[in-house]
């Protein structure tokens, strides 16, 4: 009785919070906002009329399959490559004038890049001199990434993960308002990955906007507030991650026999459900109406025995597969 009450109240509160936050998004200040941003290399359009936004002060996850155009988009935002068409505003400055915003941006794009003959410290010194940054930041950022003990070694002697850490340190050097990280967890050990997650959260909580592209969806799900999914250069989804996970709740059912999966899918489709993924003897579909019990009834009316039935929120991974055609059956 008591728990039932809580459930309905809690649901109401949760729903209210989703609704209110969805209203807030429109009003959110954006650190990055693109309008029909496009990049073509020759005839090949790799970023296609992309309209994305990165809300200020949040951790935004930028995901999509290999070759989706993530790095290309990030390079355009950093003024490294020219846009073919479209526009963007970054920290209030126009993408056509990177000088207006880049001093407030820190970045790590497509792997760390350093002078192998200089030490980690020496490499950061070069960047500090170039950007007129405080040298006192160097020991601070080295400590943030846990590299302080090896900072005087030549980068040529660093392991992959150490270089990656140095790359993140370099990105943090200017105390950026916007931190752009492309695959920051590449090559990190489990401790390093966990530390990266904590670091991103801490940086964002201190007011820095973080835009991070990664294939580590499970990690991203734990730290991201906002998610942008692209495929083949086109936007597939953007929005608040919590709301997305909530909206796309799904149910997993299992049947005895792999052959029955197709029949079950047909039955559910007829009843207005949308199957989203299938595996050996298992089927995942979108819950739009009804209860687990009604689904069970549908199955038994069709002469199918369910061996498994779970309802729950999807993970970022589920949604990713669905939106990028990586796991869809349609």
């Amino acid at each position: 009785m008591g728990s039932g009450l809580c459930q309905s109240v809690c649901m109401a509160v949760l729903k209210a919070s989703i609704d209110s936050s969805s209203k807030d998004w429109a009003a959110l200040d954006n650190a990055v906002e693109t309008t029909d941003l496009t990049k073509a290399f020759g005839d090949r359009v790799v970023v296609d009329k992309l309209n994305i936004r990165v809300p200020k002060g949040m951790v935004s996850a930028f995901v999509g399959p290999n070759g989706a155009g993530k790095s290309t988009t990030l390079r355009m935002l950093l003024g490294l490559i020219r846009t073919t068409s479209g526009s963007a505003t970054i920290l209030g400055g126009s993408i056509d004038n990177p000088r207006s915003y880049l001093p407030r941006v820190g970045s790590l794009i497509e792997g760390p890049a350093f002078y192998p003959g200089l030490s980690g410290w020496g490499n950061l010194e070069v960047l500090a001199a170039l950007g007129s940054l405080q040298k006192s930041r160097i020991p601070k950022v080295l400590e943030l990434v846990g590299l302080e003990k090896r900072s005087r070694d030549r980068v040529a002697r660093y392991s992959l993960g150490m270089k990656q850490r140095l790359g993140v340190a370099a990105a943090l050097l200017p105390e950026p308002d916007l931190l752009v990280l492309d695959e920051p967890a590449n090559g990190l050990d489990p401790t390093g990955i966990a530390a990266m997650r904590v670091l991103l959260r801490r940086v964002a909580d201190a007011g820095t906007t973080v835009l991070v592209s990664s294939h580590q969806l499970i990690e991203l799900q734990q730290v991201a507030d906002w998610v942008i999914i692209i495929n083949l250069g086109k936007l597939k989804y953007q929005g608040e991650l919590a709301a997305l996970l909530e909206e796309t709740g799904s149910t997993l059912v299992g049947v005895d026999d792999s052959k029955d999966v197709d029949r079950l899918a047909a039955v559910l489709r007829d009843a207005g459900y949308q199957p989203v993924a299938a595996g050996a003897g298992r089927l995942r579909f979108r819950v739009t109406h009804g209860t687990p019990a009604s689904i069970n009834r549908l199955a038994s009316e069709a002469g199918l025995t369910l061996t498994e039935l779970h309802s729950g929120h999807s993970s970022l991974e589920d949604i990713y597969f669905e939106m990028t055609d990586g796991g869809s059956i349609a």
Binding site: R75, P98, R99, A113, G122, V126, L127, A129, L130
Partner: protein
């Protein structure tokens, strides 16, 4: 620009860069001095016309200056290779993307780096000259060639002038190296192209009678030598500066236009 210059100075402290630049500069210049003195007794009018110094030439007040210029003959190769590798490595290592985020003004970055590297060359030339002078003094004792005229005001003036000319000629080579790097964007291709430049220019020069008046390498050498049979010093210097500015201008246009995908 000043920021790019200062950050480049931090980079040139790399041990291997210093060894790789100063080592050959110093070694070539000392070996060349020794060889020049050893062979001087064999040099008659024919070899003199080919630019070699006889014992009498060496004893002149500008004898030391001549030795210095000849000892720097390989300098051009070292300079052009250094600039080609240094700019192209920024693409090869991918460090360019870091630099451009911290300094989006590409012209400033390119020019600041140029001054940082040319500084390294000036220091290298200066050190090589000191070594060349020491070697010359030792060799003049060994070969018994009088050197009193060298250290007169006239002799020292000629020496200083030669040193300045060598540095001016370096600017020409440096700009060609920079242009090659920006065009090819990879250290291997950039260095290959600048090394190919020498024999190609040599061939063209052999076929084209006006080559010594117009070919860049010939002009740079004329500047280093304080003029040549084909061109006056002033004309060579003006054209060298013109070629350098043009190369840097074109390099800068390409650098500003191109996408940085490295």
């Amino acid at each position: 620009m000043l920021r790019a210059f200062r950050s480049e100075l931090l980079k040139v402290r790399r041990t291997w860069l210093l060894v790789g630049t100063f080592g050959p500069l110093l070694a070539f210049s000392v070996i060349s001095v020794v060889v020049q003195f050893q062979l001087a007794y064999k040099v008659g009018p024919v070899l003199q016309r080919a630019g070699l110094q006889s014992r009498e030439d060496l004893a002149l007040s500008d004898g030391l200056a001549r030795v210095l210029v000849d000892s720097a003959a390989f300098g051009g190769v070292i300079v052009v290779v250094l600039f080609a590798t240094s700019y192209a490595s920024e693409y090869g290592w991918g460090t360019l993307r870091n630099l451009l985020v911290r300094q989006p003004d590409r012209t400033s970055l390119m020019v600041g780096k140029f001054f940082g590297l040319i500084d390294l060359i000036f220091v290298g030339r200066f050190l090589a000259s000191i070594f060349a002078v020491i070697a010359a003094v030792v060799m003049s004792k060994v070969q018994d060639i009088p050197m009193n005229a060298w250290f007169t005001p006239e002799g020292l003036g000629a020496l200083a002038h030669s040193l300045v000319n060598l540095m001016l000629a370096s600017i020409g080579w440096a700009s060609l190296g920079t242009l090659a790097a920006v065009i090819f964007r990879s250290p291997g291709a950039a260095v290959g192209s600048v090394l190919a430049f020498f024999p190609v220019e040599g061939l063209v020069n052999a076929w084209w009678s006006d080559g010594p008046r117009w070919l860049p390498g010939q002009l740079f050498d004329a500047v280093a030598n304080g003029g040549s049979a084909a061109t006056s010093y002033g004309r060579a210097l003006a054209l060298t500066m013109g070629v350098s500015l043009l190369a840097l201008f074109i390099g800068n246009l390409i650098f500003n236009k191109a996408d940085v995908t490295a």
